[in-house]
Symmetry: C2
Subunit: 349 residues, 2 copies
DNA sequence: CTGAAAGCGCTAACAT
DNA sequence: ATGTTAGCGCTTTCAG
């Protein structure tokens, strides 16, 4: 391992000078020629800072902890983690992911993260929920991902559920569907409330009236298929907005059994059909992809801005907003999802 | 943060003594009474070692790096990571995961891991492939996960593909299926070869003869559905062994369109139907679950044994082998997958 | 059996 | 503008 000491030795300056240069804290403190030489030798030797050693003095490790209890049980975690890691990496941080599903104890894992000196934390859910920040994270920089804090005390990022449903439903309207159904989720979730409202509002904006009988809220189980089946038989919808991929599947199954072809006889807009699934289905499906990557990305950038106490705008975060693509977009069209970024209500740390 | 210095102060001994005790290196070096007292005070104060500080002297961080390029694009990574993290955590290590899909450069990510002093590495694929170990990992402890090294130089763990297919096919035979099809994968993969062989051998062991026309190797795309559809019409199979969940889906779709009920008219054994998917489908499906968790678990334990240069048996690793459950197991039956653990051909480090 | 002292690689006051 | 010094928390000889 090549150390500052070695560079100091080779360049004939002291370690402190090398330290200044390597941390870009020269600028009027070290003669430019010297600084350049130091940098050159460092490059040549392939010098890399030892984050352990510097953390000992600075109490900063340039690591951020990512905590989620659903890494193993949902296919969406990967995208979020990748987004967070991408931003972290770009900003010179390392993301350390711990999942607390299975037998893992959340507090233990958080302790491990703290022991290793994480500078900040991402606390992630895999579907928008009101969430309490764990007690031991109370006075650390924390950002919630795909979740919203109970008290408005913690910054968060979450999908604009209302707009997802509004856009999806509008799309079905514009595609000429007359009887648009919503296959929702019967568990209480922010996503469900927001989407039902968006569906309803879009219908009304299009001059349709909301029909309760076209709304079926189901769980992910056997009776769900019957419920959707009944909907097919009794209401004969020609368009479906589906809460998620599992719900969309009930529609495919029912359609297949009746000889109906999706894209011809009925239209379906689903949310977040996962890739494995979508590869098979996508030719006949319009999807709203929840921007897990983007949420992770933003959250990581945000927590870095909190750690370094500088405005988020100084960091390079792409804008994830994009307009709804036109209806004649190639199939499978992707309806882009907008995001809601919440600043902490109190000072963001 | 509570330090050794503080404990030393409170107990009236020196830091070195505290160090000995905390590292369980007392035993004939520190008087038992003193040791006990030190431990007591440490507990009371909630002392935690500072891994940064000790790494400075020992060049050990008790972290292991997990590298994969498919974290975001497959739903299976989560289980593997969770397994690895569980074992790591149990053994007092922290798992640091980096994914190299998306725009991430693998070498950069490995460098980051090395900079942070990872003691060993897990290099994971999400489906069994012959794999080269990255150059910069050459002289570090490395274990391959769901992959096999090109030269037998690196320990690895991978599913027993032959037996997966053998067991699945046998199960279909025992369930009374007469015409058992294999919906395979047309890409060259170890998994495909092994499974085709297992399918064939199981048929022959049951006194059936292998019929090429019952084998359909497909990609994950449009033509696949037609190929399976043709198989239904021309060969009228009553049992299906499917390479993975996407392939199984073609069978469901074809069956639904023909009014055939799975579990009554046709039997299906799939591999690795992911949970999101399985929640909807599982009542009618027998699955072979690839033991991603167990692979991750074993691999992490293995790499720790390499790092600490002590035999794997000293560590607490559960045996993941289990017998095939009986055919009258409640549906969905899970066919357990056996694993192949490969030691390095040369000395294991 | 226990403590003093040195040093891991780095940063940050403080001198020059 | 650069070097000296001290010390972060811990491990590890080496003396006693």
């Amino acid at each position: 391992m090549v150390t500052m000491k070695e560079i100091a030795h080779r360049t004939g300056v002291s370690v402190s000078t090398v330290s200044l240069v390597m941390n870009h804290r020269d600028e009027g403190r070290v003669k430019p020629a010297i600084a350049a030489h130091v940098r050159e030798v460092a490059d040549e030797l392939g010098y890399q800072v030892n984050p352990m050693a510097s953390s000992l003095r600075t109490n900063r490790t340039r690591t951020i902890g990512f905590i989620s209890e659903e890494v193993a049980t949902t296919p969406y975690a990967g995208g979020m983690i990748l987004g967070a890691q991408t931003a972290a990496s770009k900003l010179g941080y390392l993301l350390i992911t711990v999942s607390t599903d299975g037998g893992m104890d959340e507090d233990d894992e958080i302790d491990a993260l703290k022991r290793y000196g994480a500078d900040g934390f991402l606390y992630a859910k895999m579907s928008n929920r009101v969430t309490d920040v764990p007690a031991r994270l109370k006075d650390c920089p924390v950002v919630l991902v795909d979740a919203t804090g109970r008290d408005g005390t913690t910054p968060s990022i979450e999908p604009d559920e209302f707009r997802i449903a509004y856009d999806a439903t509008t799309r079905l309207v514009e595609a000429g569907c007359e009887r648009i159904a919503y296959i929702g989720c019967s568990e209480p979730m922010l996503a469900q409330e927001g989407r039902l409202a968006g569906y309803r509002t879009a219908l009304e904006a299009a001059g349709r009236k909301f029909n309760e009988r076209l709304v079926v809220d189901v769980l992910n189980n056997g009776p769900a298929l019957e419920a959707v089946s009944d909907l097919f038989d009794w209401e004969r919808p020609d368009g479906f907005f589906c809460f998620n991929d599992a719900r969309a599947w009930y529609v495919y199954e029912c359609a297949a059994r009746r000889g109906l072809v999706i894209g011809r006889d009925v239209s379906v807009v689903g949310v977040d059909n996962h890739r494995v699934f979508a590869e098979t289905l996508s030719p006949r499906l319009t999807t709203v992809e929840l921007p897990h990557f983007e949420m992770g990305y933003w959250a990581a950038a945000k927590v870095v801005s909190m750690i370094e106490k500088r405005p988020l705008d100084d960091l390079d975060v792409p804008d994830t907003r994009a307009p709804l693509p036109p209806l004649d977009a190639p199939v499978p069209a992707k309806v882009h999802c907008t995001l809601i970024e919440k600043e902490s209500v109190r000072a963001a740390g």
